[in-house]
């Protein structure tokens, strides 16, 4: 299995622990990751102000991937959704494709519609297989009791992504359970972290983060597992502010799924950059 890795902007900017652990774990599973020879922002951050700019940014990335002849996987669901959306729009709408191709020709590119885009967690479930992941677990995390936060864009909009029921997400749960850990259910698991609106009004994610983490803590989960750099930044980075607002301590470690899987595959916490997390999962790691 071989994919082109689309890194996006926020991961190399400030979520290195996610990239470090994902590269280690996917490599160990025998999934070959080829870096994009060149790339740019997927377009998600500025779609709000310019649909056309999003189209052009995403289209350029798709063309570069087509030249490599490889499907894209991303670590960020926002990138996956944006690139997939553009890919579908351009594949299905000939008039739009012609307009965009006219502009792309100015920089020597052409969209042909030859590749697909997926988030890595979806790739693990659909292409690699949960059973094969279980085969690679050498240290089942039987004493780990966690909760999941799938986030919005891996499965929304439902009609576009055609993955799982976003109101009742199960893919990440299956991936977590494959490590031997227990994944607890809690109320309103599909609630958004508020990340995309944090630049407009920080109070929104602070409220949402406190709200969700209180429920996660309430059911007795010892950590929250994420597969999105933005969700991770919200639940980890905003947690102290949410605690202040709530007037109580939460102290819920927020762990990237590849870190959890890597532990179950026998890797050390240091290799998986668990020491780079702001809320140290010390108690959890003692259970290994």
């Amino acid at each position: 299995m071989k994919y082109l890795l689309f890194l996006g902007c926020v991961i190399p900017y400030r979520v290195q622990s996610y990239e470090i652990s994902a590269r280690k774990v996917l490599g160990e599973l025998g999934i070959e990751l080829v870096d994009m020879p060149t790339y740019n922002c997927c377009g998600f951050p500025i779609e709000a102000i310019s649909y056309e700019a999003r189209l052009m940014l995403a289209a350029r990335n798709l063309c570069i991937a087509e030249e490599q002849g490889l499907d894209i996987i991303t670590l960020c669901p926002g990138c996956a959704e944006t690139l997939h959306h553009t890919n579908v729009e351009l594949k299905e709408d000939e008039e739009l494709r012609n307009t965009v191709n006219e502009r792309l020709s100015e920089v020597g590119l052409e969209f042909k519609g030859k590749i697909n885009v997926k988030h890595f967690a979806r790739m693990l479930v659909e292409d690699f297989g949960v059973e094969k992941i279980k085969d690679r677990v050498v240290r089942p995390l039987e004493k780990f009791v966690v909760a999941q936060h799938t986030g919005c864009h891996i499965a929304r909009p439902k009609k576009l992504m055609q993955f799982e029921d976003p109101e009742n997400p199960t893919a990440l749960k299956k991936l977590i359970e494959a490590t031997g850990a227990t994944c607890l259910s809690y109320e309103d698991e599909a609630q958004c972290c508020g990340g995309p609106v944090s630049g407009i009004d920080r109070e929104i994610p602070i409220q949402l983060v406190g709200d969700k983490l209180k429920r996660v803590k309430g059911v007795g989960a010892q950590a929250l597992i994420t597969i999105c750099p933005y969700c991770h930044l919200m639940y980890e980075g905003m947690q102290p502010l949410a605690e202040r607002k709530l007037g109580e301590k939460l102290r819920i470690p927020v762990i990237h799924y590849p870190q959890l899987l890597g532990l179950a595959m026998g890797m050390s916490p240091e290799e998986l950059a668990l020491n780079m997390l702001k809320i140290k999962p010390t108690q959890l790691l003692e259970k290994i």
């Binding site: 890194l7 902007c9 926020v10 190399p12 900017y13 400030r14 290195q16 990239e19 470090i20 590269r23 870096d35 994009m36 020879p37 060149t38 790339y39 740019n40 922002c41 951050p45 500025i46 779609e47 709000a48 102000i49 310019s50 649909y51 056309e52 700019a53 189209l55 052009m56 940014l57 289209a59 350029r60 502009r103 792309l104 100015e106 920089v107 020597g108 590119l109 919005c152 864009h153 929304r156 909009p157 439902k158 976003p166 109101e167 599909a190 958004c192 508020g194 990340g195 995309p196 609106v197 630049g199 407009i200 009004d201 929104i204 950059a273």
Partner: protein
């Protein structure tokens, strides 16, 4: 008038409305409007029993506001960063150098020039500049 510069006033006048209707449209497309508080989570779109694509409307309204020079700071900053560097954040050199220490391969080359040209082909640079005048 540039076709991209369709204003709320023109829209309202074209529909034969004025006064309150114009004022309402102005409010909806202003920087304080709740349209900017949507987190684009697509939940409303997914649960709508009538398949109304609310998220798409929200994006369209924001696009319309931006065409009139209403671009909240966060979008102006990220838009400027993309025009300048190709990425939404200016990644500090120190962060790029740290990659080697973490055992990460170098960051793929980001070729800002073709990115800027593609954005200029849809007047994104002008959109950001107009936003700055505000």
């Amino acid at each position: 008038m540039d076709e991209r510069e369709a204003s709320t006033v023109v829209m309202a006048k074209n529909t034969g409305r004025s006064g309150l209707a114009v004022e309402k449209l102005r409010q909806i497309l202003s920087e304080d409007s709740s349209i900017w508080r949507c987190s684009i989570c697509f939940t409303c779109l997914d649960v709508c029993p009538r398949d109304a694509e609310f998220t798409e409307f929200m994006i369209a309204l924001r696009n319309l506001a931006a065409l009139q020079g209403i671009v909240p700071t966060v979008y102006r900053e990220q838009g400027s960063a993309i025009l300048e560097t190709g990425l939404a954040f200016k990644i500090p050199e120190s962060r790029v150098k740290m990659r080697e220490r973490y055992g990460l391969p170098p960051l793929p080359r980001v070729d800002a020039e073709p990115v800027r040209r593609l954005l200029e082909s849809v007047d994104f640079d002008k959109l950001i500049q107009r936003g700055e005048k505000k």
